[in-house]
C-alpha cells in the first residue's frame, strides 16, 4: 500500500465515520453549520487558503492551470454556504460540469480534502463541524473525480 493509498483509505474511514455520526445530540437547533464554522468571514478564509495551497502544489494543481482562482474561491464559498445551511443560493455552474474532462484523480481529490481539513483546523473550526462539512462534501467525489464526457457529434 502506497502512502497515498493509505491516506485515501484513512480519509474515507474518517468521512464514513463523520457521515455515520449524524447530527450531534446537543446541536444548537437554531444555528446552521455555516454559522457554527464562523460564517462567511471564516469560510471564505479557509476556502481561499485551501485553493491557494492546492494551486501551488504540483501534485494537486494540474486542473487549476490558467484558472481564475478568485472565481473558484467565490464559487466554492457560495457552494459551501448553500450546503451548510448558510442561506445562500449557489448560482454557479453544476459541480459535474465544472470538473468534466479535467482528469482529476482520486489522489488529487483527497489531497484537496486533506488541505481543507488542515485549513479549517488552522481557522479554529471545531472538530465536530469540520467532520460535518467533510461529510457533506464527500458525496461529491463521483462528480469531481475522473468525469469523462465525450465530445459532441458534429453535423459537418
Amino acid at each position: 500500500m502506497t502512502s497515498h493509498q493509505r491516506l485515501v483509505s484513512a480519509l474515507r474511514t474518517l468521512l464514513a465515520a463523520a457521515a455515520l455520526a449524524g447530527p450531534p445530540a446537543i446541536a444548537c437547533a437554531h444555528q446552521s453549520l455555516y454559522a457554527a464554522m464562523g460564517g462567511t468571514k471564516v469560510v471564505a478564509r479557509f476556502v481561499s487558503q485551501t485553493i491557494d495551497k492546492v494551486a501551488a502544489d504540483p501534485r494537486l494543481n494540474q486542473s487549476f492551470r490558467d484558472v481564475d482562482l478568485a472565481r473558484v474561491k467565490r464559487e466554492l464559498t457560495s457552494y459551501i454556504c448553500q450546503l451548510a445551511g448558510g442561506g445562500c443560493k449557489y448560482t454557479g455552474i453544476p459541480i459535474r460540469a465544472v470538473h468534466a474532462n479535467l482528469g482529476i484523480t482520486q489522489a488529487q481529490f483527497y489531497g484537496l480534502v486533506q488541505i481543507l481539513r488542515h485549513q479549517m483546523r488552522a481557522n479554529h473550526v471545531d472538530l465536530r463541524d469540520r467532520n460535518r462539512l467533510l461529510a457533506l462534501l464527500a458525496p461529491l467525489e463521483p462528480q469531481v473525480v475522473d468525469v469523462r464526457v465525450p465530445p459532441p457529434k458534429r453535423k459537418d
Binding site: 472565481r71 457560495s78 454556504c81 455552474i93 460540469a97 458534429r154
Partner: protein
Amino acid sequence: MNRPAAACLAACIATGTMLTAAAAATVRFRVVDFAGKPIKDAIVYAVPDTPLPPAKPRTAIIDQVNRQFVPQINVVQVGTYVDFPNSDNILHSVYSFSPAKTFVLRLYAGKTEPPVRFNKPGIVVMGCQIHDTMIAWLLVVKTPYFGKTNAAGLLVLHHLRAGRYRMHAWDVSMRKVTASRPLVVTAGGPPRQITFTLKAGRMPRHGPTMPGMSAGMGMQ
C-alpha cells in the same frame, strides 16, 4: 473564385455591365513597426466609401484548444456568425464586454452551442471567465476586403473595385484604435504597394477585466 469576385460578378450582372479583369485591382500591404521589423498577425482592411451590397452571412471559427483561443486574432465582415467548437472539451465561459458585442457563452463538455452573430462593426475582446489567461480579439469590419499579415508582415488584397476606400491597419497592442488612411483604387496597372508603420507591442497575457462581474456570485 473567391467571394469579393463573386460579389462583383453578381453586382455587375445586376447592373448589366461586364466583369473584366481591369475592373478590379490588387493591393499589397506591408505592416512594420517603427524599427522596420515586420508585424505578424496585424489586421488590414479597406472599407469602400460607397457601401457594397450586403454579403451572404458566413461562419467563422474561433476554437478553444488547450485552454487558449485559436486563432487569437480574428477579422470578419459585419453579419458573420462565429462558431466556438470547444475542441478541448472542458468547461469554458466565453465573454465580451465590448460595445460591438456583449455576450456570455457557456461552453460545456460534450455540448455544442449555436454560433454567435456579430452584426455591429468594432473591436471585440473576448476572455474566459474560468481561465483568465485566455484572450482573443475579433475585428468586425464593414467590408469583405480584409486579412491578416503573415510572418513577413505581408498581406495581399485582391479584387478591390475601383473607387475610394479608407484603409485600416491594426495590431493587438493598439487595443481599441486602428491606424487609417485614404486609398484610391484605380483599375488596371501594376499592384499598389502600401506600407503601414505601427507601434507594435506584446499581446496582453490576461483576458479583459469584467466590470460588475466580480459581484455576481450568488452570495446573499
